[in-house]
Amino acid sequence: MEKKKSIPSKIILVLTLLFFYLPIAYIILFSFNDSRSLTKFSGFSLQWYEKMFSDSTMMSAVLYTIIIAVIATAVSTIVGIITAIGLSKSRRIVRNMVEQINNLPVLNPDIVTGIGLLMLFSAFAINKGFMTMLLAHIMFCIPYVMLSVTPKLRSLDPNITDAAMDLGATPFQALYKVIVPQIKPGIVSGALIAFTMSFDDFIISYFVTGNGVQNISILVYTMSKRVNPSINALSTLVIVIITVALGIVNLVPIIREKKKRK
C-alpha cells in the first residue's frame, strides 16, 4: 500500500486539513480582534478575554463545566471499573443484558436520551439544575469507561486473581492490587473519553438543566443569537483545555517509551 505521494493526493490532504482547521483557526484569531467585527481583523487586543473573565455568567459556566466533568469522570470511572470487573465474572446472560442496555444511549440520538431523562427527573419531582446535569453526565459516561476497560479485562489471566486469593488476599485486595494495575491503560483512556464527553456535551445537558445552571455549550448556544466576540475567547479556552488534555494523554505514553529505551 505504501506508495509515493502523488500531487492529487497531496492536494486532497491539504484541502482536508484546511477544511478541518480553518474554523478553529478563525475562532482563535478573532478572539484577539480589537473590534466587535466577526469579519474584519483590525488589530490585536485581549479585551474579549478581559470581558470573559469579568463576566460572571461565563465564569460560572466554565466552573460548572469543569466541576461536572471532574465529578462525572471520577464517579463514572470508579463505577465503570467495578461494574466491568463484576461483569467479567458474571453469567453471559447478565453480561449481554447490561451491554445491550448500555448501548441504548449510544444508538439513540442524544435528543431522545435528553428528553427521556427530562421526563424521568420530573416524574421523580427532582428539580432540574446542577444535580440533574451531573446525574445525566454520569449516566452517559459510564458506558464509555466500560467499553475501554472490558477488552483489557478479557485479556487478563483469570488464574492470577484466584492465585492472589489463594495466597490470602481478600477479594478487595485482589481487585486493587492485582486487577486494577493490569488494566490501567484502559482505565486512563476510559477516563479521558468520559472527561471530554462530559466537557463537550450540549444536547443532553440542554434538556436536563434548569435553575440557571449552564455549562459552556449551553451558554454558547444561548449567546450565539447575538454578536458577542467574548464567545470566541471562551471557545478558544475550550479548544486549549481539550487540546492540552489530549496532548497529555497522547504524549505521556510516547515519553515513557523513550525513557524506557534509554
Binding site: 474554523p23 478553529i24 424521568l120 459510564i142 463537550d200 481539550i242
Partner: protein, 278 residues
C-alpha cells in the same frame, strides 16, 4: 466469584432507572394525551394522527430526511477519497493524519458550528472568497447549503475514520494478485478495494445519518431561527410549547425512521459483501 458478581448489582439498578425507565416514559407519553393524573390515563393515537395529518409536520420530516441523506452522501463522496489517500501513506504519516482528523471531533461541536456562523456571514471570509469570482451577493448563511456544510463538517470525521479502518485492514497482497492477473488500477479498485471497504462505508453511514437526522442546533445556528427540522420541533415541544406527549410521539416517529434506514443500509451491506465474494 459471588462477591465479584455482586459488584454489578448497583449498576444494574442504575441503568434500570436511568436508561430503561426514560425509554418507557417516552413510549408512555407518546401514546397518551395530556392530563396525566394517574386516574385519567387515556391511551390514544391522537399524537400520531396529529403528526401524520398535518402537512407542515410531514414536510419538516421530509426536509430532515432530505438534509440527512444529502449530508450522508456528501460525507461518503468526500470522505472516501480522503480515507483512501491517508490509508496509502507510510504508517507514520498515516498515524499523524488520523490524529489530526480525530482532534477536531474532540472539540465541542457547538463551538465549531459557531465558528462557521462567523465564516459564512455576509462580508465574512467565505463571501470575500466568492466575491473574487463575482459572486459577492450570494447569501450563504441561513440556507440549506450552510446547514449541510455544518453537518458535513461535524460528522465527516466519523465517515473517514470508519472507511480508513476498513481500508487499513485490507490485505495488500490482494491488489498485487489483481494486478498480476491483469487488472488495471481502476479495475482492481472497483473489483477489490471498493467491495472490501463496503462495511466501513456502511458503519460510516450509520454514524453520520443518525446525528444528522436528529440534529437541532446546527439548523438553528446555521439555518437561522426560521429553519425547522425534526429535532427543532422536538426541542420546541419540550422546552417551549410544553406538549411532552406530542414531543414524545415525534421522537418515537424519528426513532422508527432511523431504525428503518439502518435496516435498509445493513441490507445493502449484506448484498454488497456477498457480491464481493463472487
Amino acid at each position: 466469584m459471588k462477591k465479584f458478581r455482586s459488584m454489578t448489582y448497583p449498576y444494574i439498578i442504575w441503568i434500570a432507572v436511568m436508561i430503561v425507565i426514560p425509554m418507557i416514559l417516552i413510549v408512555f407519553y407518546a401514546f397518551t394525551v395530556e392530563g396525566n393524573s394517574v386516574a385519567s390515563i387515556k391511551f390514544s393515537f391522537a399524537n400520531f394522527i396529529r403528526f401524520f395529518t398535518d402537512v407542515i409536520f410531514l414536510e419538516v420530516l421530509l426536509k430532515s430526511l432530505y438534509i440527512a441523506v444529502v449530508t450522508t452522501v456528501v460525507c461518503v463522496l468526500l470522505g472516501y477519497p480522503i480515507a483512501y489517500v491517508i490509508a496509502r501513506l507510510p504508517s507514520r504519516q498515516n498515524m499523524i493524519l488520523i490524529l489530526l482528523i480525530t482532534m477536531p471531533t474532540w472539540i465541542n461541536m457547538l463551538v465549531r458550528t459557531y465558528a462557521w456562523m462567523g465564516l459564512l456571514q455576509d462580508g465574512g471570509v467565505f463571501s470575500s472568497i466568492l466575491s473574487v469570482f463575482g459572486l459577492g451577493d450570494v447569501q450563504i448563511l441561513h440556507t440549506d447549503f450552510a446547514v449541510i456544510l455544518g453537518m458535513v463538517y461535524n460528522f465527516i470525521p466519523f465517515m473517514i475514520l470508519q472507511i480508513h479502518t476498513s481500508l487499513a485492514k485490507m490485505d495488500s497482497s490482494l491488489l498485487d494478485a489483481a494486478n498480476d492477473l491483469g487488472a488495471d488500477g481502476a479495475k482492481s479498485f472497483l473489483k477489490v478495494t471498493l467491495p472490501l471497504s463496503v462495511p466501513g462505508i456502511v458503519s460510516g453511514i450509520t454514524l453520520v445519518f443518525l446525528p444528522a437526522v436528529s440534529s437541532f442546533f446546527i439548523p438553528k445556528l446555521l439555518g437561522g431561527g426560521q429553519y425547522v427540522l425534526v429535532g427543532n420541533i422536538i426541542e420546541n415541544q419540550f422546552l417551549t410549547a410544553g406538549d411532552w406527549n406530542f414531543g414524545s410521539a415525534i421522537s418515537l416517529i424519528m426513532a422508527v425512521v432511523i431504525m428503518i434506514s439502518m435496516f435498509l443500509t445493513k441490507k445493502v451491506d449484506v448484498k454488497a459483501s456477498s457480491n464481493g465474494e463472487d
